[in-house]
């Protein structure tokens, strides 16, 4: 029996959220999950059932053009859309999310707990995120610092009431609030995956995650999936086939794939601005030890 048929069908009609602040290793982990369950890797066809805030799903589930709706109206319907997405589905579905865990205007979390299995929350040192984010979005590092420090930070936000992006606007909040929103909520069980730990020992970390997900995966398969999704392999795949998740503004999606690159990239004033804003959460997660 195929691994996916055996393990994913244990959780019919449920969603596994793969949540993170942008540029925290979400794509790497999704690639790993795809390689693991498919046995092969096509970076343009990852085994994840879309992005939480993809507009076309919302529009086709509700038969509405969401460009005619306000953000408040959209957020109020997000739980409904995902409950419907789970109906009559015979296995666990993975969904990537960059939104912070927030409540809508009706007081309901936008991520519905009743159809959620667990969340793998991927966290990365914000000092490393800003360089990667700047590269991805074609911004300066200072602009990326402004975003991660902004309590009202958004992804795919359009200014002045415009609302026609491919994806719905995603409220990130600032980096610390994003981390706290997911780790402190009590509705959905969280598995914390630290990017830096995974870089250091991917087989152990990913095996721990699979165990926490109550999936019985032989270690040889984990090793093979880790090998298929090493940074060099992902970069090579992008060079060969391109990557649809790359932004047009950046030359590549996969950049350096390292932790600690900030030491060469950031000025002392930039480091200070990030730490001033995120000191407490960085400390709790062990990101201040190297300083």
């Amino acid at each position: 029996m195929k691994l996916s048929d055996r393990e994913l069908v244990k959780f019919p009609g449920k969603l596994l959220w793969l949540a993170s602040y942008p540029k925290s290793g979400n794509t790497w982990f999704r690639s790993f999950m795809s390689a693991l369950f498919v046995g092969d890797l096509d970076i343009n066809n990852l085994l994840t059932n879309g992005l939480f805030s993809i507009r076309i799903l919302f529009d086709q589930v509700l038969d509405i053009d969401s460009r005619f709706l306000s953000e408040r109206e959209v957020k109020n319907k997000m739980p409904v859309v995902y409950r419907y997405k789970c109906k009559n589905v015979d296995r666990l579905q993975f969904v990537k999310a960059h939104d912070a865990y927030v409540k809508n205007s009706m007081g309901e979390p936008i991520f519905p707990a009743d159809v959620s299995y667990k969340v793998v929350y991927i966290v990365r040192n914000p000092l490393d995120i800003v360089g990667s984010l700047a590269h991805h979005q074609g911004r300066t590092i200072d602009q990326s610092i402004e975003l991660i420090n902004n309590p009202n930070g958004y992804l795919a936000e359009q200014k002045n009431g415009l609302n026609d992006n491919y994806n719905l606007p995603q409220l990130l909040t600032d980096w610390s609030s994003h981390v706290r929103s997911w780790l402190e909520q009590k509705e959905i069980e969280v598995i914390l995956l630290k990017y830096e730990d995974a870089k250091e020992n991917p087989i152990k970390v990913f095996k721990d995650v699979m165990n926490a997900l109550e999936m019985n995966i032989p270690e040889t398969l984990i090793e093979e999936a880790v090998r298929m999704t090493s940074f060099d392999q992902l970069k090579k795949a992008e060079e060969t086939t391109g990557f649809k998740e790359k932004s047009a503004i950046s030359p590549t999606f996969f950049r350096k794939g390292i932790s600690g690159g900030w030491k060469e990239e950031l000025t002392s004033s930039q480091i200070e601005r990030i730490i001033d804003c995120h000191h407490n959460v960085m400390k709790e997660l062990g990101y201040l030890k190297d300083l």
Binding site: R55, Q60, V61, L62, D63, I64, D65, R67, F68, L69, S70, E73, N76, K77, V80, V81, R83, Y84, N160, G161, L162, N163, D164, N165, Y166, G242, F243, K244, K246, S247, A248, I249, P251
Partner: protein
């Protein structure tokens, strides 16, 4: 007391409506209407009906289409000619109009087997060119900018294609003189013959423009359909002709509300109609980089169609 009845012709369908669809122009007609739109109470639809799709806000089968928009209205289409609207307390008629013209009319077009592509359209003296794209990929902007270059503006968002025996080809003529552009798109600002109406809904920065005096009044033969999309390369265009089953699949994917065709029991009819369209009209795909400025794209397209 008798309610006022407004009369419209919208994408070839004659409508009697108790709700004003302004800014659509009222048009009198002699023969009976294809569609009656009325206000009224809607009886709760039973659960567990056979061959019926139950979605969060929609119940669909071949006879009925029930749909609601939170805090705006419930809508019920019965058969293909009757629409009942149950207005929510304190909702605005302008909001009802937006969703009625979009989803409800979209469903009625399918029920009436219209070939309506999600597309804009411009014309020259010799014929019309249709630009299909997904939302946000620039079809309205393209058509509006081509109008600025002297091409005739035919449609903004939905394009009805009908077979015309006199022209011996598929043809188009404007069906909706109201174009909606996002407020950062200034293509129709201060454009001679265009009236700016205002936002489609409060707090939604999509602006309606009335193009009634601008659109051509004669039927135009469709010369070519362009599928336009955007890619992640850093520059330039990919331009290719599409043939065979790819052509059929692409055209079907741009039929307005195509994903509802099967639930509405119209897949067989649309298979035949789209096949005949695919046989009759050349289709070309033009993919442009997200980084390509719209002005460059407009120049490229205008060189293709002169």
């Amino acid at each position: 007391m008798t309610e006022k009845i407004y009369t419209y012709v919208y994408y070839g369908l004659r409508i009697h409506s108790e709700i004003s669809l302004q800014p659509l122009p009222e048009i009198a007609f002699i023969q009976g209407p294809d569609i009656h739109i009325k206000f009224g109470k809607i009886t709760r639809i039973e659960e567990g009906l056979e061959d019926t799709v139950y979605k969060p806000n929609t119940i669909i089968n071949q006879r009925i289409f029930y749909w609601y928009v939170d805090d705006i209205a419930e809508f019920l289409i019965v058969g293909k000619e009757k629409v009942i609207i149950n207005q929510a307390d304190e909702s605005k008629l302008e909001d009802i109009r937006v969703f009625l013209l979009d989803t409800i009319m979209g469903v009625l077009f399918i029920k009436h087997e219209k070939i309506i592509l999600h597309a804009s359209c411009v014309a020259t003296d010799t014929g019309a060119y249709v630009f299909c794209s997904n939302a946000s990929e620039g079809k309205s902007t393209l058509a509006a900018n081509l109008a600025r270059k002297g091409f005739s503006f035919v449609e903004d968002n939905r394009c009805l294609l009908t077979w015309n025996n006199d022209l011996n080809s598929f043809s188009v003529i404007n069906q909706d003189p109201i174009a909606s552009l996002w407020s950062n798109n200034l293509a129709f600002e201060n454009f001679k013959g265009v009236d700016k109406i205002g936002p489609v809904r409060k707090n939604i920065e999509k602006i309606d423009y009335n193009l009634s005096s601008l659109v051509p009044t004669e039927v135009k033969s469709v010369k070519k359909i362009f599928i336009i999309d955007m890619n992640k390369s850093d520059k330039g265009f990919v331009h290719k002709k599409i043939f065979g089953i790819d052509k059929f699949d692409l055209l079907l994917s741009y039929v307005n509300f195509n994903y509802l065709i099967k639930d509405l029991g119209k897949d067989e009819q649309y298979f035949k109609k789209v096949m005949s369209l695919a046989r009759a009209i050349p289709v070309e795909l033009i993919s442009r980089s997200e980084m390509t400025p719209i002005s460059e794209f407009v120049t490229y397209i205008s060189n293709e169609i002169v």
